[in-house]
């Protein structure tokens, strides 16, 4: 059946963690969802300590949710995951500009 999506998420809080690690979340999914919705669900329902830029412009233009999804730089708002799939989520840069988990400092460069 595969009614779950597994998200392996890069975690690192420089204030509290010695080094980065990955944490897996098994998220109930009755249908496809975008990576951003998946993260929103994890933060709301499973683990409030996770940090990501939750903001969504809905246009795939603001770059707020840009991250490495399965090792490829992509927009979390427009990248869809199917039930049964596993997805690996990492910050778009690390250690440069990295702040916490999937959050990096907004850069001046386009």
């Amino acid at each position: 059946m595969g009614d779950y999506i597994t998200a392996k998420v890069f975690r690192y809080d420089p204030d509290r963690d010695e080094k980065p690690y990955f944490k897996s979340y098994r998220v109930e999914a009755d249908g496809q969802m975008s990576v951003l919705v998946l993260l929103d669900r994890i933060q709301r329902e499973m683990d409030q300590t996770i940090s990501f830029r939750s903001y969504c412009c809905g246009l795939q233009t603001c770059k707020s949710c840009l991250m490495k999804i399965n090792n490829k730089k992509q927009f979390a708002c427009m990248t869809v995951v199917q039930p049964g799939e596993e997805v690996v989520l990492e910050p778009v840069t690390y250690p440069d500009n990295h702040l916490k988990d999937l959050v990096v400092r907004a850069s001046d460069k386009e």
Partner: protein
């Protein structure tokens, strides 16, 4: 853009909010390099707030008279006419300024132009970053305004990365914090894909707490929204809202959306939809399957991309019926300002959605971008002039205010004996707002809402969020929530006060517009620590309702 370590920063002009109005105010205030400008935004500019979610439609036809008349008619005469006349008189100038920083302005239909939100913000951000007299504080939330002797003298800021709380001393402050509609209701157009943009109205509440007057806060716009959050983007395209609208029995609720001023944004249409739901005829659908396919050629890349994405999700409204609910959209009420964006407190300015008296009882689509752009520039200029002309405040004694704020904000991280969950409390507030401060209102419901809001307020100090400090989403939301509760009360009290029906404010116990008694603003302000209600005249210097 590293934030220097600090307990206190100083500037001539502080801008709070990183949307369109804030960024453009920043450009204008820092022009010439003389004044030190700080722009504080809770997210990165161009990656936060509602400006990037907008489709850029901006009301701007050849005739000021035409736009003006549209706005006043739609707003049911609750617009301050000197303010909006001034807005249209200066739109051309504002557009020229945008073009100068490289913004692509595209003509759009007979009444407007497209000013792309993200592009405008990215270009403004790049320009601001280059200026040595500008400090961009991104990922910084302003939590309180500091005032002394009736003047604004600064603000308290929380760095969301380092969790440092610090004071910003400023001669002039511009509030460009946007709207209050999004977070107060369970459903809202403000959240693409159902993901919150955190439109919490913190600016409204901070200004109120500092003594500023807010007007017409009962004027909250609602819109039909797809129940499937993936479809929220359909809102951006009028071609998906032509109708017909059918109820669950297949009966036509509305077939002529063009007949309404404002189309699917019309309060008359929303009242019609709400009645269907009340009669148990919901859900309502927009069903365009039998309609001729609309012409899609827009030439605007972001729109085409959005359309393609909608289609890729299998939710093409030309091939599916779309189930609808009603959600919040925009608050027409806000800070009491004049055409110079001056609020009722010296040194405090406001631009963008936070302004009251611009749209009156209904905001027409496209008119908020005009407001954002024009008043963003005006506020920047006015605040700069004020900061240049006024005697600088000396050393203030804000230490205690900052420490009190520190205690309040860090309390959310503390372990509690009987904690409440932020989510549960927020859901409670949103449900209450949807039940009693929604499309139809009456005295009993509004009083019930005020009672419930009062109970929720008592629980705010029991909110407990995870205790880490760096980029803690729930912590920020808890801080914002504490202000939302105040905002909810302000709205409910204003709604109870206006004893008539006008625009989006519909009182079951006071049906019909009553120009004799209520062609005026409701005013809310804090006096002696109490919420105080009052009225103020509307500026009707160009157009009056027919007697």
């Amino acid at each position: 853009m590293n934030i220097p370590s600090h307990d206190r920063m100083t500037c001539d002009v502080l801008i709070i909010g990183g949307g369109g109005s804030g960024a453009l105010a920043g450009l204008e205030a820092s022009e010439g390099g003389k004044l030190k400008v700080i722009l504080a935004s809770k997210g990165p500019i161009s990656q936060s707030g509602l400006t990037p979610t907008g489709n850029g439609g901006t009301a701007f036809s050849g005739s000021i008279e035409h736009l003006f008349k549209n706005m006043v008619t739609a707003g049911n005469y609750l617009n301050d006419q000197d303010v909006i006349w001034s807005m249209f008189s200066q739109t051309q100038d504002a557009i020229e300024k945008l073009k100068r920083i490289g913004v692509t302005v595209t003509p759009l239909g007979p009444h407007g132009i497209c000013v792309p939100g993200v592009e405008t913000l990215s270009l403004a951000r790049r320009e601001l970053s280059k200026r040595s007299n500008v400090v961009l504080l991104e990922d910084v939330l302003i939590t309180r305004l500091i005032h002394e002797n009736g003047k604004i003298i600064g603000a308290v800021a929380l760095d969301l990365i380092t969790a440092e709380l610090f004071e910003i001393v400023a001669t002039a402050v511009i509030l460009t914090t946007g709207g209050i509609a999004g977070e107060l209701y369970p459903r809202t157009s403000n959240n693409p894909f159902g993901i919150t943009t955190d439109a919490s109205g913190t600016g409204h509440v901070m200004a109120y707490q500092a003594g500023a007057h807010l007007i017409d806060m009962e004027m909250m716009a609602f819109v039909p929204l797809p129940t499937d959050p993936r479809c929220l983007n359909l809102r951006y395209f009028p071609e998906f809202w032509r109708g017909p609208y059918l109820n669950r029995h297949g009966d036509v609720v509305e077939s002529d959306i063009e007949g309404y001023l404002g189309g699917s944004y019309s309060y008359l249409f929303l009242q019609k939809l709400a009645r269907e739901f009340e009669k148990g005829n919901g859900p309502v659908y927009v069903d365009q399957r039998a309609m001729e396919k609309p012409d899609h050629v827009s030439g605007i890349r972001a729109w085409d991309r959005r359309r393609r994405y909608i289609k890729s999700l299998g939710i093409d409204p030309n091939e599916n019926r779309i189930e609808l609910a009603i959600g919040s959209h925009f608050c027409m009420g806000g800070l009491y300002v004049n055409e110079k964006t001056e609020t009722t407190i010296p040194g405090l300015f406001a631009a963008g959605e936070i302004m009251g008296g611009v749209h009156g009882g209904l905001r027409l689509p496209g008119y908020s971008f005009t407001q954002m752009i024009v008043f963003g520039f005006i506020a920047g200029r006015q605040a700069a002039d004020y900061a240049t002309g006024v005697l600088k405040t000396g050393e203030s004694s804000s230490y205690q205010i900052v420490e009190k704020e520190r205690e309040r904000i860090f309390n959310f991280l503390e372990q509690k004996r009987n904690p409440v969950s932020l989510r549960a409390l927020k859901n409670r507030l949103q449900r209450e707002m949807e039940r009693d401060v929604f499309i139809f209102r009456d005295k009993a419901g509004l009083e019930r809402a005020l009672e419930e809001i009062g109970k929720i307020r008592e629980e705010v100090t029991r909110i407990q969020v995870p205790s880490f400090k760096r980029f803690n989403l729930d912590w920020v939301r808890a801080v914002e929530f504490s202000m939302m509760v105040e905002g909810a009360e302000i709205i409910a009290r204003s709604a109870l006060y206006r004893e008539e029906s006008r625009g989006f404010h519909y009182r079951r116990d006071f049906e019909g517009r009553d120009d004799r008694r209520w062609l005026k603003h409701t005013v809310v302000h804090l006096q002696g620590g109490n919420l105080t209600l009052d009225t103020a005249p509307v500026v009707l210097d160009r157009m009056r309702p027919e007697e």
